[in-house]
Symmetry: C2
Amino acid sequence: MTIQTETDQTGVVQSSGSGAPTCLAEARRLVGPELARIVERLDDANQIVVRYHLGWTDADGAVADGVEGGKALRPALALLSARVAGAPAAVAVTAAAAVELVHNFSLLHDDLMDGDTQRRHRPTAWTVFGRAAAVLAGDGLLALAAEVLLEDPSAAAATATRSLLAATGQLVAGQSADLQFEDRMDVSLAECLQMAAGKTGALLACSASIGAQLAQADPYVVARLGAFGAEVGLAFQFVDDLLGLWGDPATTGKPVLADLRCRKKSLPIVHALTSDTAAGKRLDGLYSQPEPLTEDQLHEAAAAVEDAGSRAWAEAECDRLLAEALRHLESIGQPGSAVDELAGLAAFVVRRNS
Amino acid sequence: MTIQTETDQTGVVQSSGSGAPTCLAEARRLVGPELARIVERLDDANQIVVRYHLGWTDADGAVADGVEGGKALRPALALLSARVAGAPAAVAVTAAAAVELVHNFSLLHDDLMDGDTQRRHRPTAWTVFGRAAAVLAGDGLLALAAEVLLEDPSAAAATATRSLLAATGQLVAGQSADLQFEDRMDVSLAECLQMAAGKTGALLACSASIGAQLAQADPYVVARLGAFGAEVGLAFQFVDDLLGLWGDPATTGKPVLADLRCRKKSLPIVHALTSDTAAGKRLDGLYSQPEPLTEDQLHEAAAAVEDAGSRAWAEAECDRLLAEALRHLESIGQPGSAVDELAGLAAFVVRRNS
């Protein structure tokens, strides 16, 4: 069986005008009203923070126009996974909203913990509303996400919620490891991969299988979809790390070389640091100096990651993970448009530039 | 029917040596090992923070001896509520652990948000491990609490988890309102009561009924136990607010007049501010001044609360809420030792001094 990814002859992912697979816009259309209904259940003060964070309103509460919200990658995975299991996408609409809310709970808290001041070209919520408000808004979203999923009429709602909460636990553990790494110079590549699997892989694995769970699909199908999501999640993190080093601030919305500035131990950086190359040792020297890195030193550090072969390695890993992800899809043995769209989504994740 | 509270002839709650009802020690004995098993599921870094916060270890990870942990009020309520429903306490052990973990999630985050540096006579977790670690440890506890409760074999596990998550949402909304109040001088008593019902009442109402839910008790019994817990929770907050003004720092573990120092809008304070008395106006003047209150002014403010009649009002409210709580218990119409112990616990909450 061969899976049709949504690419044209030149290997470029087919676009719906903006370069993104159409299933993302479809997910936003289907899940948007559900998200709006759920967020309305928060108290007024938390709602103001969450609506701003989601790009629905400005800091003063006025409806925001043309503000870039999330890509809806996780909702799209959830909806497609229901369709792979032969159920209508509607079966997974609440689950799609729930995974998106857990994702946004983690963004609200991570931006605060990482001290990030910009997200999607706007000031982060904690810089606008304060630290306490960002903590509470995240807390409220997490509790609400699990609560609404438990209210889902599916007989598998409790099982799906357990998956969501387990993924949340792995996500928190991954973020915890990421923060620990900032103070350690001896992070191994294996530790770094495990961190990324928790921080990014777990919720994508959950998203890519939760619709099938709610549709009460065969456990084999649920497991294969979960494995697909985990590979896509790790690929997502590799792309994120590459964009954190060589992405265009105009498209990523993040400052140039931001990851090096705060001495993040991202995957390509740890690969370089542990590469036993001259370039890796140069990077180690820069990362070990007590003073902040100058602009010149930041560019030197980025060049060292490239010279150590770590950029090429990370790019090759993206391709390998995409191929692995597609193999998991194929092993389901149920070709169809939903499987093709999942494959297209995976390819889009790996080829994105923001 | 008359409920036997665990009080002797002089109205003093019967003690197990330390002045606390024996069901609290029993709850710690039953739920302690379950809590230990659950906390072990956190990643190492979060586990260190949580174990310290729970009083199990010192800041360096060494086993702490003689450190005061929580009172286990919520676990005791959960276990007794199963017994009221005719089930063994064991039915509610996981739920008892879950409500205690949600309580501690909120303490970890609240201490950070409120800037509190001491809890139970020890430095708060965020002052020891940093803000990010406290946020993550709380996040991890919340997700884990809901996850373990969903794993409970009871057919009512999903319903109980929904209750727990709904209570968590109310708790977060209550804390959100409490923080808003600090910047507002026009807080009404009704708003303040609603805030306390969310911040403290919701989780106690959930705790006092969750065991009965898991035992699949009649919904009427579950509702009466929940109403009992809500009244006890509000009384708990009144006592907390009284202790925040006139408690002995040696027993409360909090600085003297701490609530006035940070201009909290606690129940007695809002009662005084809205009392339309000369003393209330004096307090309003002190709370409106831009400079920090001097030690003399703090004592003046405390005296104003008392002169406005707000201390006496709060004390009377405690008694009234206790009586209401006991009426809910009586209305269950199932006298027995578990009901008597719940009544004793309610009386203890109202009479505690720390």
